[in-house]
Symmetry: C2
Subunit: 325 residues, 2 copies
């Protein structure tokens, strides 16, 4: 019987899941709507019925654990707490309730999506064998998962790794978190969209983005425009990369990591993002860090990283336990 | 035979050492000049003769290890690398050379002074039992030692924890590290001195500090002036505390620690520093961290923290090993 882990990624609109082998092969996967299930127990029933259906296709496999990545997921309590993009308000005992639905007594672990991405990078991606690295996920917001001494940093309350909410500019852009000038208001799909609108105001040059209303503009459209050489889109990546690079220099001063991985749709812009990010990281670092830190595209880029990462929460735990015995 | 650890603190002008018991009692201590010994092996002979002298007074004690705190100390290699305030240039194999001078085969461990302070805080100070905390040492510069998951963060190259060199203002004060606007150009004895001169320029009010030339002004004089109610000195602490507090909010976003400890002469200004630091930390934190992080005066404040911390490098190691067996 081959062992598999169920990885679940809870998103604001959809949730994805998949059964993952110890070497990162995704055997069966599925999706179900998160939105439209304001009662979270009812959502769990709904999700579980999809999972159960998929599981029937793997009669020869043993389920050894469940890993979950979720916004505002708390590793210590297995809860989702005040997630702004989910319909469930307050603190939701996700792990306890999900556990009840499995007949097996198997480990069920939950953390936030960026932490899951970091464990995924370590288990299946570019950070294999690394003990000190950081993953930045550039999506609607900016998530970060930090590994030091070979361990994920959860912090005292389980919410460490909010680099997206460190300060770029005290007089800067309003952030969804209620403050001003947070990194994610610049460096994220939403951030670069705001930058495009700023640049469309600053410059008079032609751009294919001048025909797109704010609400329709997506990170993907900006990425594709940049790859086609659109001046505004290219400049927007330059601006984004510069702010990211400057902040990465500060992150390096905290952790002195071996590598920093970038993940997300914007990373598909390639050098448009990576070059200015790398230049400004190096330019802003203390002398003794210069030339030491690798800035890399995630090894899980354009894969089902959220589900792989969620499953890695369990695989990483099992690998450790098995090495110890 | 009672066990003792030798703690050594290498400073730019003087080096201190002491023999410390497992509960943090300092039995014998001594000092010798660091300055004036440009050949570091000759310095080690000099230091060792002082240590040997002090050790003769402890014939009933067993030496179980040596811990060293030094600027730019590299934990992994046991070296001191390009320390700007020391006369020894390049990379100095401190641990290897010191080891040769002891007849016992005992562990000799070296790290930078702020890391030693953090381990000292955990072993003998206010962080006993904590797994996630940070120590800021406000001296000539600003050092930081970071503990997460119960372990010090050394980073990939041994130089993590340089929060003093994160960015406050890209157009800000020139830093000794060659960049501009680093935290330590504001928050340190040197930083507050610069702030006093800025404020003496900004305001016309009386201040006892108007009679002091820049080169004579010390952190201690500013601290004492603030405690006497001098307007400029009080405002200088307010300014320093505000910048520190804002940066602490970013540090919390990275690590979500249980507590942050402040250590150093400036901390003797009490609420003049702690109040604005706490206010601006809370004011700048994301909602989910608010009210959770303790900002505390170091439990080793006004003790021989550098020597205690250096010895704690060994005690912490021994405690762990003994717990494991």
């Amino acid at each position: 019987m081959q062992e598999v882990v169920l990885g679940i990624d809870i998103g604001g609109t959809n949730s994805k899941f998949g059964f993952v082998t110890h070497d990162g092969e995704l055997l069966e996967e599925g999706t179900c709507k998160t939105k439209g299930h304001p009662d979270f127990k009812e959502f769990l029933d709904h999700l579980f019925s999809h999972i159960d259906e998929a599981r029937k296709k793997l009669p020869e496999h043993t389920l050894v654990g469940v890993g979950i990545g979720a916004p505002n997921g708390n590793y210590y309590n297995g809860t989702i707490e005040d997630a702004p993009n989910l319909e469930w308000k307050g603190t939701v005992p996700f792990v306890d309730e999900l556990k009840k639905r499995f007949k097996e007594d198997i480990p069920v672990v939950l953390t936030n999506d960026a932490n899951a991405a970091a464990i995924g990078e370590m288990t299946f991606g570019g950070a294999k064998g690394m003990k000190d690295f950081i993953v930045f996920t550039l999506g609607t917001g900016l998530g970060s998962g930090i590994v030091a001494n070979g361990q994920l940093i959860y912090g005292h309350d389980g919410f460490a790794g909010e680099i997206g909410h460190t300060l770029v500019n005290v007089f800067g852009r309003t952030c969804g978190c209620g403050r001003k000038g947070c990194l994610e208001t610049y460096v994220s799909a939403t951030g670069i969209k705001r930058t495009v609108y700023k640049l469309l105001a600053d410059y008079l040059c032609e751009s294919e983005l001048r025909d797109v209303p704010f609400n329709d503009l997506s990170g993907r459209m900006i990425t594709e425009a940049a790859l086609r050489g659109d001046f505004i889109a290219v400049q927007a990546f330059e601006y984004t990369g510069r702010i990211l690079g400057m902040k990465l220099a500060d992150t390096v001063a905290h952790f002195s990591p071996e590598a920093i991985f970038l993940f997300g749709g914007l990373v598909n812009a390639g050098d448009h993002l990576m070059k200015p990010a790398k230049f400004h990281m190096e330019d802003n670092m203390m002398r003794n860090f210069k030339g030491k830190v690798k800035l890399l595209v995630s090894g899980l880029q354009n894969k089902n990283a959220a589900v792989l990462g969620a499953s890695a929460l369990i695989w990483e735990k099992l690998h450790k336990e098995r090495r110890a015995t």
